[in-house]
């Protein structure tokens, strides 16, 4: 046995880590027994409906909730915003009604009398001049490095372009909400949350409770994407009404309110000048961008623009726009998808201007990135998978068949993914059973499965032998699942605790069976000496821990190499554009993604493929549409808020890039990165197919047709 240092096994010794393991909670999800927040239905539960404001900007001048209280079945009314409150966006919560049935709650909402003084609104997020005229812009931010003007004079090729990407929402298929219930004066909140350990205090303060009297539970969550870190005003409303009525209360946002008020990803629009020298090396970048994140008026982070690439001569400036639209929340890889789409489309246009193959051009400029070697390997692999060499043609020069043209595009991205602070308790019972306990959550990352794999690998047991308890704030604290921090966050502490436990067991086995502890290893349910001779079974070894068994705490992150941060990743898209209708059809999308050491290859690839369909969504169809006349979010339903369906995504290929050099880096988070460059890759593929740039995402048929017309192609 190797000396006792905290580390992952040498790659070749793993039995389970890095293989394709099925989700250990998959049976519950496939059979309908997995309980999400809205599925909690304890005796006497009251149901809620919401009154929201229909104006983009208004002042509440009258609010009478008494009629609601008189409706049969209504048990409580909660006021979010009373008379004199200023409403800043369509969909702002005014009141909630809790009743015996959903219909009674709706009757209660309908009985509320509310009046507003309507105020002027502004919701136009892509017209910078209009925003300036309306006094809706924030203080510009800018920075300069090198000498852009001088570089532009030396340039062989230059492109001046306009690029943009509209606001989208998180659109979690399970809306935000909770089921709140008091037992004596203790609150149990089944909250749909990415932040099990961090939300009890958010309930406690406003409710006047000790945080120790609040338990947050989230066994399953139907999507979060960065929007579910808080108890939120609707969670507090449910808890307050539960306290007031002495009854359990379930309050889930309806779909329209979910889309309007529970978070969104800010828009970004940019004017870019980019230039290269004769051999295709980019020598200058000049950009001004704007966009909105709602009433606060922030925009996409100027400090990360241009994205992935940075250039010696670079000017950048940004202006935020204050709009009467719902406020932003962190959306999977905050800032990155917009910045990527506004950077790498301009780069692709410059490649076309130079008459270069886009892949050659991006490869040529990898020196302007921080991970040139990784991107090069990933681009070359992705090119093989999509058949780049055989299918490539100059922009707009491909063969047209029946009015349709095909094209290829690419993009690349980066992300951090450092493990969050987390702890766990690993228990080994005298009968050999093993469990891990952590106040973490599974937002689709496969948290339970990852923990089970780490312990099974360490103890030489099958994955099924490990019981994983997560999803309750009563368990050891774990960080929120945001920023691709969870898999690293839980795997480090569990590996550390498991190794410490294993070493204690080895010492007990050595004493009992008179063998050298340094020769012991755990494999196949047995403790082996020198890797081959069975000393005892795992159960016999566990029995040596005494009647109380063994309990070890694990913490992280530590600087012991189990986890690290910093990933790359590339994607390529093949599309077919109908030049008559403007419809873009996905043919194939390829992702090659690194994330250090991969615990479960199956769930890792699953994350990548899931991200790709979100990327296809915002590239082609998904968009919050604000009506300038009324100031309202007019497509806040799943009919008109267009997400791709199963026939719209084409073939998806996800391949993990994990040479030994990546394995050696330890575990790095994966959730965000694969959603980042889809927009750029698909936009570039459309430009390659048509020979024109569709400047703004999503590339709806109208925008495609407008671009074709502007480019003289239609």
């Amino acid at each position: 046995m190797a000396e006792r240092t905290i580390a992952w096994k040498p790659r070749g010794e793993n039995q389970i880590i890095g293989t394709e393991v099925l989700r250990i909670d998959g049976v519950e999800k496939a059979s309908g027994t997995a309980k999400y927040s809205a599925d909690i239905n304890t005796q006497g539960t009251l149901y809620c409906k919401l009154l929201t404001c229909k104006h983009a900007h208004a002042k509440v001048t009258k609010l009478d909730t008494e009629p609601a209280k008189g409706v049969k079945g209504v048990k409580a009314v909660h006021i979010f915003r009373d008379v004199d409150s200023e409403i800043e966006w369509d969909g702002t919560l005014i009141a909630a009604v809790a009743a015996e049935t959903q219909d009674a709650a709706q009757d209660g909402v309908n009985a509320i009398v509310v009046e507003y003084e309507v105020l002027p609104h502004f919701v136009d997020e892509d017209d910078l001049e209009a925003a300036k005229e309306a006094g809706r812009t924030t203080e510009p931010r800018s920075s300069t490095q090198g000498n852009v003007e001088a570089a532009l004079k030396d340039a062989k090729a230059k492109v001046e372009g306009y690029y943009g990407i509209h606001t989208i929402t998180h659109c979690c298929l399970e809306p935000h909400g909770s089921h709140c219930e008091f037992e004596d004066d203790n609150l149990i909140a089944h909250l749909s949350t990415q932040n099990v350990s961090g939300t009890p205090g958010q309930f406690a303060g406003p409710l006047g409770l000790d945080a120790s009297k609040v338990t947050v539970v989230c066994d399953y969550i139907g999507g979060g994407f960065g929007s579910k870190f808080a108890a939120d005003e609707w969670g507090l409303a449910a808890a307050k009404m539960a306290k007031e009525t002495g009854r359990p209360v379930r309050l889930m946002l309806d779909r329209a309110t979910e889309l309007k008020t529970a978070g969104n990803r800010p828009s970004g629009f940019a004017r870019v000048t980019i230039a290269a020298n004769a051999d295709g090396n980019i020598i200058a970048w000049d950009s001004e961008h704007w966009g909105t994140n709602g009433p606060q008026g922030g925009t996409v982070d100027v400090n990360q623009y241009p994205y992935v690439f940075d250039f010696e001569n670079r000017n950048r400036a940004a202006i935020g726009i204050k709009t009467n639209a719902g406020p932003q929340r962190a959306w999977r890889a905050p800032n990155h998808p917009q910045l990527c789409a506004m950077t790498q489309t301009a780069m692709d246009d410059l490649a076309a201007e130079l008459g270069m193959d886009s892949l050659d051009f991006f490869l040529k400029n990898l020196g302007h990135t921080a991970k040139a070697d990784v991107y090069k390997a990933e681009l070359e692999r992705a090119a093989e998978l999509i058949g780049w060499k055989d299918k490539w043609h100059a922009h707009g020069k491909g063969e047209k068949r029946r009015g349709k043209a095909r094209g290829l595009g690419l993009g690349l991205h980066r992300w951090g993914g450092r493990a969050h602070a987390a702890s766990c308790t690993v228990r080994i019972e005298p009968d050999g059973s093993v469990s891990s306990n952590a106040g973490s959550q599974d937002i689709g990352t496969g948290t339970r499965t990852v923990i089970a794999i780490v312990l099974a690998e360490t103890f030489g047991l099958p994955v099924e032998a490990i019981k994983v308890n997560i999803g309750s704030s009563t368990l050891p604290q774990s960080g929120p699942s945001g920023g691709s921090t969870t898999v690293g966050g839980v795997s480090g502490p569990n590996r550390r605790a498991a190794l410490e436990a294993l070493w204690k067991i080895f010492d007990l086995v050595a004493a009992k069976y008179k063998v050298d502890a340094a020769t012991l290893s755990a494999h196949g349910g047995k403790i082996l000496s020198n890797g081959e001779k069975a000393v005892c079974t795992w159960k016999q070894a566990a029995s040596l821990t005494g009647p109380m068994g063994l309990e070890v705490q694990g913490k992280g992150p530590e600087n012991d190499g189990l986890t690290s941060d910093g990933v790359g990743g590339v994607q390529m898209a093949e599309v077919e554009v109908d030049l008559e209708t403007g419809v873009v059809r996905m043919i194939k999308m390829v992702a090659v993604q690194d994330c250090g050491l991969i615990i479960d290859l199956k769930t890792a690839k699953s994350q990548v493929e899931g991200a790709m369909i979100q990327g296809i969504a915002y590239a082609l169809t998904e968009e919050r549409i604000m009506d300038n006349q009324t100031g309202r979010f007019i497509n806040a339903d799943l009919e008109n808020y267009k997400l791709p369906r199963i026939g719209d995504v084409g073939e998806l290929v996800a391949e993990m890039y994990q040479p030994d050099s990546e394995y050696a880096r330890g575990v790095i988070g994966l959730g965000e990165p694969p959603v980042i460059c889809c927009g750029a890759a698909i936009s570039n593929a459309v430009a390659n197919a048509t020979g024109v740039r569709v400047s703004v995402l999503p590339m709806t048929p109208k925008r495609v047709l407008d671009a074709l017309k502007k480019g003289g192609q239609a």
């Binding site: 779909r255 769930t603 009919e639």
Partner: protein
């Protein structure tokens, strides 16, 4: 408010009687009255398919069906798909193909797939994509769902 009605129906093979208001949806009664919460609510207007159940063998969005409409009908929900022990081949295929992630859309997809395979035991890929177009997935990635339905179809044929 209209008087409550008694509805007699068969749910997952068992006779069932429940009381409901005429305006209550099947989805609401399944979840809130009968505690069959495997059927999920995603949009309440028939666009996401998370609430798909089988009504006399046909896949329907239970948010668009009034509970009183199922009087005398047979309803199957996700809770009735698995045999007494183990899983249905469709459920097993969803697991094996990683065709579920957060899991909130999964019951709806499985019910739609079940209706498809009952009618068309060996569907083409295009037929699968057409038949499941009423179900939205936000995070899993659709390709794997297609593979899962293909695997389920093959397994079912092999077991005949």
């Amino acid at each position: 408010m209209a008087r409550k009605r008694i509805v007699t129906t068969t749910i997952n093979g068992r006779k069932n009687e429940f009381l409901c208001e005429p305006r209550q949806t099947l989805l609401e009664v399944l979840r809130d009255v009968l505690d069959l919460t495997g059927t999920k609510e995603g949009c309440s207007n028939g666009n996401c398919g998370a609430c798909t159940v089988l009504l006399d063998g046909r896949a329907v969005d239970s948010c668009l069906v009034l509970a009183v409409e199922v009087d005398g009908a047979e309803v199957e929900t996700i809770e009735g798909v698995a045999p007494v022990e183990g899983l249905d081949p469709i459920q097993h295929a969803f697991l094996e193909q990683a065709a579920l992630q957060c899991g909130i859309c999964t019951p709806g997809f499985i019910m739609s797939a079940k209706a498809l395979l009952a009618e068309n035991p060996q569907p083409s890929e295009a037929e699968i994509r057409f038949s499941l177009a009423g179900n939205l997935c936000r995070c899993t990635g659709y390709d794997k769902i297609v593979r899962a339905v293909q695997q389920a179809a093959e397994t079912r044929v092999a077991h005949r």
